[in-house]
C-alpha cells in the first residue's frame, strides 16, 4: 500500500466500487494475477522436467559436462557463463527497481537512465542465451546412438579426457552425400549428414586401443560409467547412428528429453525476456515523451518492473534446476 500511487478518486462506499481492499490499483493487481498464472505455467514445466529426470534418474546427463563453454575462450569452464548470465539478469533487475524508485520520486531523467540500463541488461541476456543455444545445438565431441536410443560417448584411456569423433575416426572414401531437394526424387531431402559415418567411427575405434566407451548410466559416485576395452568392443556393436550436437530428436549429451526440456524451458523463458525487453523499450520511449510526467505518476514503470522481476525470478529457478542440481 505504501508504494502504491493513487490513480483515481478515493471513495469509501464499500459496494459502489472505487475502494481498494488490497491497496493496489487495478492494473497492478492484474499484473500480479498474470504473474501468478505464469508462475504456475513455469512450475508445470519445471515439475515435468523433474518428472522425466526422476524417471531416468540413473542416466540423466550431468549439466556440468554439457555447458562448459565461455565465448571467445577455449577450455573447460563449467557454469561460469551461466553464472555470468544470472548475474546480468539480477543486475538488470536492480536497475529496474532503481527506475521504479526514481519514478516514485518523479525524477524523469533518472528513470530514463535506469530503464536504458535495464534494456541493455536484457539484451545481453537474450544474446547470451542465443549463444548458449547455438553451442548446445552444434555439440562438442559427437557420440553414437544405440538401437535403444541410448548414447555412447568416447573417452581417451590414458588421459581420461573425452575424445571427439574427429580424434580417432578413420576417413573411408565414400560417395554418400546429403540428399538435396534437387537430386533424386523430387521434393525429398534429408538433414545434413554427420561429419563421419558410422563405419568410419567404428573402424577408427577398432584400430585405436586408447579409446574407451562411456555409457549414460551413472555410477555410485554420480559419474558416467566407463567401460573397459573389452566391454567397449562388445558395446560398439549396438551402435546404429552417429550423433553430433543436439536437437529435438537426437542429443549427443545423453537423454533426448534433456535437450527437449532445455529447448522448451529456456526457450520459453528467453521468449519472456525478449517480450520483456520489447515492453521495456515501449515504456522507455513513453518516459522520454513525457507521458508519465503528464499523467502524474510512473505506475506503468512499476508494472513492467513487476514483470521484469518475475522473469528474473523464473531464471533463478531455471538456473538451479537445470544447471546446478
Amino acid at each position: 500500500m505504501d508504494t502504491t500511487i493513487s490513480t483515481g478518486a478515493e471513495e469509501e462506499s464499500v459496494w459502489g466500487g472505487g475502494n481498494r481492499p488490497l491497496g493496489a490499483s487495478y492494473g497492478k493487481l492484474m499484473m500480479w494475477f498474470f504473474i501468478v498464472s505464469d508462475a504456475l505455467t513455469f512450475s508445470g514445466f519445471l515439475a515435468s522436467y523433474g518428472f522425466s529426470r526422476f524417471k531416468f534418474i540413473e542416466t540423466w546427463p550431468i549439466a556440468d559436462e554439457v555447458f562448459t563453454h565461455v565465448p571467445f575462450i577455449h577450455g573447460n569452464f563449467p557454469m561460469y557463463y551461466v553464472a555470468f548470465m544470472t548475474f546480468i539478469l539480477i543486475m538488470s533487475s536492480v536497475t529496474m527497481v532503481l527506475a521504479v524508485d526514481a519514478g516514485h520520486r518523479m525524477m524523469k531523467n533518472k528513470v530514463i537512465l535506469y530503464m536504458f540500463l535495464t534494456i541493455i541488461g536484457g539484451a545481453i541476456f537474450v544474446g547470451s542465451q542465443a549463444w548458449e543455444w547455438a553451442t548446445f545445438i552444434k555439440g562438442d565431441y559427437g557420440a553414437l546412438e544405440t538401437k535403444g536410443g541410448r548414447i555412447l560417448q568416447f573417452v581417451q584411456a590414458d588421459t581420461g579426457q573425452r575424445a571427439a569423433l574427429a580424434d580417432f575416426a578413420q576417413v573411408i572414401p565414400s560417395e554418400r552425400e546429403t540428399l538435396q531437394r534437387n537430386d533424386g526424387v523430387w521434393f525429398s531431402s534429408e538433414s545434413s549428414l554427420p561429419s563421419y559415418s558410422l563405419e568410419e567411427v567404428k573402424q577408427g575405434f577398432l584400430s585405436n586401443p586408447n579409446i574407451l566407451i562411456r555409457t549414460e548410466t551413472l555410477n555410485a559416485e554420480g559419474e558416467k560409467t566407463l567401460l573397459t576395452r573389452e566391454e567397449s568392443l562388445a558395446k560398439i556393436k549396438d551402435a546404429t547412428l552417429v550423433v553430433e550436437g543436439a536437437n529435438l530428436i537426437r542429443n549427443e549429451y545423453g537423454s533426448r528429453l534433456f535437450a527437449d526440456f532445455f529447448f522448451f524451458i529456456t526457450g520459453f523463458h528467453g521468449f519472456h525476456v525478449f517480450s520483456g525487453v520489447v515492453i521495456n523499450v515501449i515504456i522507455f520511449f513513453n518516459i522520454i515523451l513525457g507521458t508519465y510526467e503528464r499523467r502524474g505518476h510512473y505506475e506503468m514503470v512499476e508494472k513492467v518492473g513487476l514483470y521484469w522481476h518475475f522473469v528474473d525470478l523464473v531464471w533463478v529457478f531455471v538456473f538451479t534446476f537445470f544447471y546446478l542440481v
Binding site: L22, A39, A47, G50, I57, V97, H104, V316, L324, V325
Partner: protein, 127 residues
C-alpha cells in the same frame, strides 16, 4: 508524493537509510548467494555429495534452499511485496506455493514409481 518503504531486511537486523540503499544491499546479498551456489557447483565438496537427506544429496538441498532464499528477496524487495498489504501478499504467495507443492509431490512420486517399473519390471529400455 510520500511513499513509505519498509527498510529493514533479515527480520530487522539490517536497516537501511533509504530505499536505494536497501536495493544495493539486497543486490549484494543476492550476488553472495549466487557466488556460493556456483562455487559449490564447481567444487562439489565430497561431504555434501556423499551424504543424502530424504533421498536427495545434501548439496542439492542446499541449492534448492538457497534458490528459495533468493526468490524470497527478489519478490519481497524487488517486487516490493514487503510494502504491500498482507492480504495481497498472502493471496499471491500461498496460492502458487500450495498448488506447486502438490504438483511436485504427485509428479515426483509417479516418476519414482515408473523408474522402479523400468528397473524391476520385465522391460528393457537401456540397450
Amino acid at each position: 508524493m510520500a511513499h513509505e518503504h519498509k527498510l529493514a531486511i533479515f527480520r530487522g537486523t539490517l536497516k537501511f537509510k533509504s530505499n536505494t540503499q536497501k536495493i544495493w544491499g539486497v543486490l549484494i546479498f543476492l550476488s553472495i548467494v549466487t557466488t556460493v551456489e556456483v562455487a559449490l557447483g564447481i567444487t562439489k565438496p565430497e561431504i555434501l555429495t556423499g551424504n543424502t537427506l530424504i533421498g536427495m544429496k545434501l548439496l542439492n538441498w542446499i541449492f534448492i534452499i538457497l534458490t528459495l532464499v533468493k526468490a524470497y528477496y527478489i519478490a519481497w524487495d524487488f517486487m516490493h511485496l514487503r510494502d504491500e498489504k498482507s492480504s495481497l501478499r498472502r493471496a499471491i504467495v500461498w496460492t502458487p506455493i500450495f498448488l506447486v507443492s502438490y504438483l511436485i509431490f504427485i509428479l515426483l512420486f509417479e516418476a519414482d514409481y515408473i523408474y522402479n517399473v523400468f528397473k524391476d519390471g520385465y522391460l528393457q529400455w537401456n540397450f
